[in-house]
Symmetry: C2
Subunit: 147 residues, 2 copies
Amino acid sequence: MTEVHLRDALDTLKSTGVRITPQRHAILEFIIQSMSHPTADDIYKALESKFPSMSVATVYNNLRVFREAGLVKELTYGDSSSRFDFVTNDHYHMICDTCGKIVDFHYPGLDEVEHLASHLTGFEVSYHRMEIYGVCPTCKEHATKVQ
Amino acid sequence: MTEVHLRDALDTLKSTGVRITPQRHAILEFIIQSMSHPTADDIYKALESKFPSMSVATVYNNLRVFREAGLVKELTYGDSSSRFDFVTNDHYHMICDTCGKIVDFHYPGLDEVEHLASHLTGFEVSYHRMEIYGVCPTCKEHATKVQ
DNA sequence: TCTTTGATTATAATTGTTACAATAAGTATA
DNA sequence: TATACTTATTGTAACAATTATAATCAAAGA
């Protein structure tokens, strides 16, 4: 699964004339394989043993490249730093208010909401996003136990 | 309408033991009366003629106070700074990718999505948010004209 | 009036991100 | 292979939004 995504992503990059450097390969691989929607700093820290001389600017540069190629989505929630998500299928995010964990939640796209919104406001709609907030099972259990 | 909201908001603050200072009054009034979802800096700039000595820290401090009192919602989109929205009824936001304008879009809350999400992931859901992106009528027209 | 608490101010510090210049690595062409 | 040319990386400086801190000020209670 991961390998397929990685191969596809590399193909996409190649087809747009973007060079595939070891750093790019590693960053992309990490985002795809990571289920945790990492921040730029997470990525930097995770790869610093493999690339001791890599600059944090490289991470940002390449995240922008990936974003422009449509491979990666930038998520901006309440916290201080952006998180990055490999683009696969339609899914929304559930966010735990207690521990900050982000979980994917698969659900068919809300096309009819887009249509209605477009009709009411005259916008030309391109996409939408939704996040659902709450307390994850782990934190819920922990809270009751501590009580 | 604005006055009712303002009075309610001030009551809420009073009931939680928060002092109502001239700065707080003005900030709150500005957010309620503003239809433009201002940033902290917008608020600071808008009020500096009325309060020449007001610090930007005061704006941030009080936005936090309002947020903790449930009066104001902090919106974090792609741009660099947060925007603040007075909490009224259920509505979503439509955002213009071209000019950044934010328009309210009234729509019944997607309760069934919350329920399904809760069922699938075990989260205890508290709320959700959704944003719809696209091009607003003004920018759309302008784009075709310029062409 | 005195004390205490809370709010504001001014400024320093922090943090995430971007810009920039220099160096390094690939790629293409002769 | 040698040469120029393009692109990527690095290190660091700059920036902008936000938060922390300490000092001053204002209000409320005893």
